[in-house]
């Protein structure tokens, strides 16, 4: 694809890929959550993304803002737990930032940044609190920086995905300060955060969707 306008179909493809990955990674994410949480993150994300794709496939919204509102509301009403409102907010804010007039790569990067800001506002997590923010914030920063340096959208997203995965891995030694894992205190160290992991998948799916 080109670096030109991003279509609704492409965004749907991104979501579909993410839904497939969540189905596939369900047990792995749940196992991560079992170690430092309550063992449901994969189940939650899979349930949520199934609901998203059902609604999107039943009637695909015409533009990105409408699509992302559908996605966010589906997650909020179907996931529950921490991930529901947080991922819901991510997509809702992404959509609000998109505006009705089509989306450029720079626009996409701004939307992601807005989504991440929404997550941070809702969850009040800082970097290194061992949450999805540790994957999302570096990803948003990397995509923005790469585009600023003139990278292609595909390259920018690839760098974003790398940053997200690195951020997720970097949660391993951290002691959690937010979410359920924080109840474990020191014992939360040594395990990768499940939400950061699913978030890294989300960015990797974007890189895959818009690659080449």
């Amino acid at each position: 694809m080109s670096d030109g306008a991003i279509t609704v179909e492409e965004v749907v493809a991104w979501l579909r890929d993410f839904a497939a990955v969540m189905a596939q990674e369900k047990d792995a994410l749940t196992a991560l959550d079992a170690a430092i949480g309550d063992g449901d993150h994969g189940i939650n994300m899979d349930r949520g993304m199934r609901a998203v794709m059902e609604r999107v496939d039943a009637a695909t919204p015409a533009d990105v803002p409408a699509l992302m509102k559908t996605v966010g509301m589906a997650l909020i009403s179907k996931v529950g737990g921490a991930a529901g409102p947080l991922y819901g907010t991510l997509f809702l804010q992404f959509g609000s930032a998109a505006g009705p007039d089509g989306l450029t790569p720079d626009g996409w990067a701004a939307c992601l940044a807005a989504g991440v800001a929404g997550v941070r506002a809702r969850g009040k997590a800082e970097l290194e609190d061992k949450t999805m923010v540790d994957a999302l914030q570096p990803a948003a920063d990397a995509v923005g920086a790469a585009l600023g340096e003139g990278a292609s959208f595909a390259d920018a997203l690839a760098r974003g995905a790398d940053a997200a995965e690195e951020g997720a891995r970097a949660t391993i030694p951290l002691v959690a300060r937010k979410g359920r894992a924080s109840y474990l205190g020191e014992r939360s160290a040594g395990h990768q955060d499940p939400g950061a992991t699913s978030s890294a998948h989300l960015v990797r799916c974007a890189a895959r969707t818009w690659a080449a």
């Binding site: 079992a34 949480g37 063992g39 449901d40 009403s77 529950g80 737990g81 109840y183 205190g185």
Partner: protein, 333 residues
Amino acid sequence: MKKLINDPADVVAESLRGFAAAHADLVRVNADPAYVVRADAPVSGKVGILSGGGSGHEPMHGGFVGRGMLDVACPGEVFTSPTPDQMLEATKAVDGGAGVLHIVKNYTGDILNFEMAADLAREEGIEVEAVITNDDVAVQDSLYTAGRRGVGVTVLAEKIVGAAAEEGKDLAAVAELCRRVNAEGRTMGMALTSCTVPAAGKPTFELGESEMEIGIGIHGEPGRERVPLASAKEIVERLAGPVIDDLPFASGDRVLAFVNGMGGTPQIELYLVYNELKQLLDGRGITIERNLVGSYITSLEMAGCSITLLRLDDELIRLWDAPVLTAGLRWGA
């Protein structure tokens, strides 16, 4: 996974259907979005009391819906907070014009979803107050973390606050009372075994034959530390000690002592634990004025227990003793 279930995906819905059929005299159950509501809701002029949270903690919360306790409960998926739209519908179903109190256990998921729900309800013109319970002394409290979990005190708060609402107290007073109960109560729990989330199909954690987890919550999450199995006497010391020291409870205090089973613990053990707790409190000069022994806030089939102490005064005793008519707690009615 050994459970009396059909498809793991249907556990919550099918169990709710059974609950509805068994307690049609007390409650109605709405299937989608899921909530369990008093048969006579909304009660005009009465503050509505709503609580909710993940399923798997039965009888909490659905079992506490009825006269003198909750007006409505929102069950989420197993160990997963319910959703804002569900809470909104439930709030509307019990708004008798005097506003609705949301009793929220302190978990990020619950807090976020309840915040959204309260916003939505207020947009629809319903007065909503939310009180957060956070009584678990196993968790270090801090402004910079998610704080303490809401556990056993939630049950006691729902009973006491439910009685106050039944008496006609207004929303501000009921919310204030709920905060007071939360402030006067502390809990700590332990597990002998893990539980298995149906959709996960295997135990959340593995415990050796001679190990136990101290400082667990109610979601099958591991506790603060894994230690060798000990006698009931030592376990009670390990749980009640931190509970007492935290408030702190002092000689001369009158308390409600709540020994709670986690779901897979038989009564014979819970009463044995209560016996130890009674002796320990006697030794500290703390008087048990009321007690509750049983499995009321559970983690599926987990074996283990929690100990909650709530400091009482005459008003709290009167409200505790007030009639309650629910599937899970019933007296004076």
